[in-house]
C-alpha cells in the first residue's frame, strides 16, 4: 500500500490515467461491454487535438505564475483557415499551405511576446486581446468559407491502423520530443528554472526573455499544427473550430498534474487528462444525463481529480 502511495506521490500524472480508466470502465459496464474498443479509438482520435495544444499551454504555464496563452483558440482557427484556403483542395499545394499556416501561427507567437515583454501587458490580457485581432483576421480572410482539405491531409488526420489513429502516433512523437527537451536540453531546463524562480534563474545566467519568447512561439506553433490537423480531420476549417480549446487546453494541463504556479511540468499527464476529459463526456452522454447534470458532474469530477492529485503533493 505504501509503495502505491509513494509511486503516486512521485507521479502526479498517474491520477489522470486512473481517472480516465475509471470512467472508461464505468461506461463499458453500463453498455455491457458493447463498443469498448471503439470508445477508446474515438477517445484517442479526439484527445489528439487537446494534447497538441495542451503541450504548448503546459510549457507556457510552466514558465511561471501568470503565464498563460489564451490566444490558442484564435490561432487554431487562423491557421486552419489559412491552410485550407492556400491549399484549396489541391494536394500539390499542401506544403505551401502548411508553411503559410505555421508562418501565421509563428507571427501570433511573436506578437504575443511583444505585447507581454515590450508593452508589459500581463499575459492573460495580452494573449486574450491578441486573440481578438487574430480571430478578426481569420474572419476577414476566410469569410466563413469551409474548403475541404486535400485528400492526403484528410487521410493523414483520419487514418487508423488497428484502431490506433495515425495522428495520435504523430502527436506521440511531438510529446516525446517535448519531454526530451524538458529533461535534456538547455531550453527545457531553463523553462523549469524560470518557472521556479525567475530571479534565481536570471542570476544563474539564464536569459528569461529568450526562454519565454521561445515558449510563446512554441505554443503558437503547436496551435498552428492543431489547426491544420483538425481541419483535415473534420473536413475543413470553420470560424468556431477553436472555441472548444480555450478551457480544455488549460484543463488538461492542470488535471495532468502540471503545477499552475509554474516550474513543474507533467508531460504524460497531458495524455491522461485529455483522454479523461473525452471519456468523461462520453460516459455522461451514455448515461443519458441532462445537460445541466452533465456540466455539474463534469465540474465536480474535475475538482475531485485535482484535489486528489494536489493533496498528494501537499503531503510531500
Amino acid at each position: 500500500m505504501s509503495r502505491i502511495t509513494s509511486f503516486l506521490r512521485a507521479r502526479p500524472w498517474a491520477w489522470s490515467f486512473i481517472a480516465a480508466a475509471a470512467v472508461w470502465l464505468a461506461t463499458v459496464a453500463y453498455t455491457g461491454g458493447q463498443g469498448a474498443g471503439e470508445i477508446l479509438t474515438a477517445a484517442l482520435s479526439f484527445a489528439t487535438f487537446a494534447i497538441i495544444v495542451g503541450l504548448g499551454q503546459m510549457m507556457v504555464i510552466s514558465t511561471g505564475p501568470g503565464n498563460v496563452d489564451l490566444s490558442i483558440p484564435a490561432t487554431i482557427t487562423l491557421s486552419g483557415v489559412v491552410a485550407m484556403k492556400v491549399m484549396d483542395t489541391d494536394s500539390s499545394r499542401m506544403l505551401i499551405g502548411i508553411v503559410a499556416a505555421l508562418a501565421c501561427a509563428l507571427a501570433v507567437g511573436v506578437f504575443n511576446f511583444v505585447l507581454i515583454r515590450l508593452l508589459r501587458i500581463p499575459p492573460i490580457i495580452a494573449t486574450l486581446s491578441s486573440s481578438f485581432l487574430v480571430l478578426s483576421t481569420a474572419i476577414s480572410y476566410g469569410r466563413g468559407i469551409r474548403i475541404k482539405p486535400p485528400p492526403p491531409l484528410a487521410d493523414f488526420a483520419t487514418a487508423r491502423i488497428a484502431g490506433i489513429p495515425i495522428a495520435a502516433v504523430f502527436v506521440l512523437l511531438i510529446t516525446v520530443l517535448i519531454a526530451f527537451a524538458l529533461r535534456r536540453t538547455f531550453y527545457g531546463r531553463s523553462v523549469l528554472a524560470v518557472g521556479q524562480n525567475e530571479r534565481a534563474a536570471w542570476l544563474a545566467g539564464i536569459s528569461v526573455d529568450r526562454t519565454r519568447f521561445i515558449t510563446y512561439v512554441l505554443s503558437a506553433l503547436l496551435s498552428g499544427v492543431c489547426g491544420i490537423v483538425l481541419s483535415g480531420f473534420s473536413g475543413g476549417a470553420a470560424l468556431n473550430m477553436g472555441e472548444d480549446f480555450l478551457l480544455s487546453s488549460i484543463a488538461v494541463v492542470v488535471i495532468g498534474g502540471t503545477s499552475v504556479a509554474g516550474g513543474r511540468a507533467s508531460v504524460p499527464g497531458i495524455w491522461g487528462a485529455a483522454l479523461f476529459m473525452f471519456l468523461l463526456v462520453t460516459m455522461l452522454n451514455t448515461f443519458g444525463a441532462s445537460a445541466g447534470l452533465r456540466f455539474m458532474l463534469t465540474g465536480l469530477i474535475i475538482i475531485t481529480v485535482i484535489v486528489l492529485a494536489g493533496g498528494e503533493k501537499e503531503s510531500r
Binding site: Q34, A42, S45, A238, L239
Partner: protein
C-alpha cells in the same frame, strides 16, 4: 455634459418621431446592432444586410443603414453599443440580441427616445419593441413529421442538440421530442450537444456512438449534420438519415451522397437573410405603417427536388439564404 447631450438627442428624436407620418423615409437612419459574427450563419446575415441596405440607401429609400457588431457576444457590451446608437440619433435600431431579457432596460431607453426598435432571431422581450421570431418548435416538429412519413416503420433516433442553456436549443428540442411522443415507433436513444458546430457535433457523436444500437435517423438543429455524417463514417457505421441545416457543407455532402446512392433527406433552418426582413419591417414602421408587434418568419426548407437549385445559390461555406424585398416584408406583416 453627457446628460445634456442625451436630453437634446431625446428631444430631437422625439420631435422627429412626433412629426406627421409621411410616406417618406429617405431622411431616416437605421442601425443594426448585432451581438456576434463568429460563424458562417452570422457572416451570411451581415452580408445580406449589406447587400440589401446598400441598395436601399442608393435608391434613396433610407438615409443610412449601418451595421454594428460587438466583439465578445456580451450583454453589457451590446447595451453600451445601443446606448451609443441612441446618442448618435438613429431613427430605428434593428437588434439581434445577446439576451431576451438583459437588454430590456436599454431597449426601453431607446423607445423612450422615440426610436423604433425591431428585434429578430435573438429577440428582446421589452414590450415596446417589435419581435420577428422563428417558430423553433414547429421547426423541430417538421423534422419528425418528415421522418414519420419517410420511414413509417420507425427506428432509433439520435438527437443532436445546440448550445445548452440557450432558448433556441430548448425550443427546437421540445418540438422534436413532443412530436416524437406522437410516433411511438421512433425511440430517442441518445442526445448530445453539438453546439451548432460541425467539429463539436463530430466529437460528441463519435463519443456516444459506440454505446448505441443501430441508428436509423439523426435529428439536428443546423450546423451539425456534416459533423455527424463524418462521425458515422469514421466509426464504420451505415449512414443513417441525417436531417441537415442548410449549411453549404451539409448540402454539398447530401448532393454527393444523392449522386452516389440516391440518399434522401431534408434540410431546414432559418435564412440568415431574416436580417433584411427586419430592415424592411423597420422601414415600414418608420413609414408610419401599422405593423403588429409579433411577427413570425417562415423557415427555409430544402427537399430532395429543390436541393440542386439551393446548392447552386449557396456560396461555398455559406448558408442557404433568402433575401427579402419590401414586398416580401409587406406579405409577412400582413400574415401572408
Amino acid at each position: 455634459m453627457l446628460k445634456t447631450l442625451l436630453a437634446c438627442t431625446i428631444a430631437v428624436s422625439a420631435l422627429l418621431a412626433a412629426g406627421p407620418a409621411s410616406a417618406e423615409t429617405k431622411d431616416k437612419k437605421i442601425a443594426l446592432s448585432n451581438n456576434y459574427a463568429g460563424n458562417s450563419w452570422r457572416q451570411a446575415m451581415l452580408k445580406s444586410w449589406d447587400k440589401v441596405t446598400k441598395k436601399a440607401v442608393a435608391d434613396g429609400i433610407v438615409a443610412a443603414a449601418d451595421p454594428f457588431t460587438t466583439s465578445e457576444n456580451q450583454v453589457t457590451e451590446q447595451a453600451a453599443q445601443i446606448q451609443n446608437l441612441i446618442l448618435q440619433g438613429y431613427n430605428a435600431i434593428v437588434i439581434n440580441a445577446a439576451s431576451p431579457d438583459a437588454l430590456n432596460g436599454v431597449v426601453k431607453q431607446a423607445c423612450d427616445a422615440g426610436i423604433i426598435v425591431v428585434s429578430f432571431d435573438g429577440i428582446v422581450k421589452e414590450p415596446c419593441a417589435w419581435r420577428i421570431a422563428v417558430d423553433f418548435q414547429a421547426m423541430g416538429a417538421s423534422e419528425v413529421e418528415y421522418l414519420a412519413k419517410k420511414m413509417p416503420e420507425g427506428g432509433n433516433v439520435l438527437e443532436i442538440r445546440g448550445l445548452a442553456g440557450v432558448f433556441v436549443d430548448d425550443e427546437i428540442s421540445k418540438g422534436i421530442n413532443d412530436t416524437l411522443a406522437k410516433y411511438p415507433q421512433f425511440k430517442n436513444v441518445g442526445n448530445v450537444h453539438g453546439n451548432w458546430a460541425q467539429e463539436v457535433a463530430q466529437k460528441e457523436v463519435a463519443g456516444i456512438l459506440p454505446s448505441l444500437p443501430e441508428i436509423k435517423a439523426v435529428v439536428t438543429q443546423g450546423g451539425d449534420g456534416y459533423g455527424a455524417a463524418q462521425a458515422f463514417a469514421a466509426a464504420g457505421r451505415p449512414t443513417p438519415l441525417i436531417i441537415m441545416g442548410n449549411r453549404q457543407d451539409e448540402l454539398q455532402w447530401w448532393k454527393e451522397q444523392k449522386d452516389k446512392n440516391g440518399y434522401e433527406t431534408m434540410s431546414v433552418s432559418i435564412a440568415p437573410g431574416v436580417s433584411t426582413l427586419a430592415f424592411w419591417v423597420a422601414q415600414m414602421i418608420l413609414d408610419g405603417k401599422e405593423v403588429p408587434k409579433d411577427l413570425t418568419v417562415p423557415f427555409l426548407r430544402i427537399d430532395q427536388d429543390t436541393l440542386e437549385a439551393n446548392l447552386a445559390n449557396t456560396e461555398k461555406g455559406g448558408v442557404a439564404n433568402v433575401e427579402y424585398t419590401a414586398e416580401d416584408a409587406a406579405k409577412v406583416v400582413a400574415g401572408k
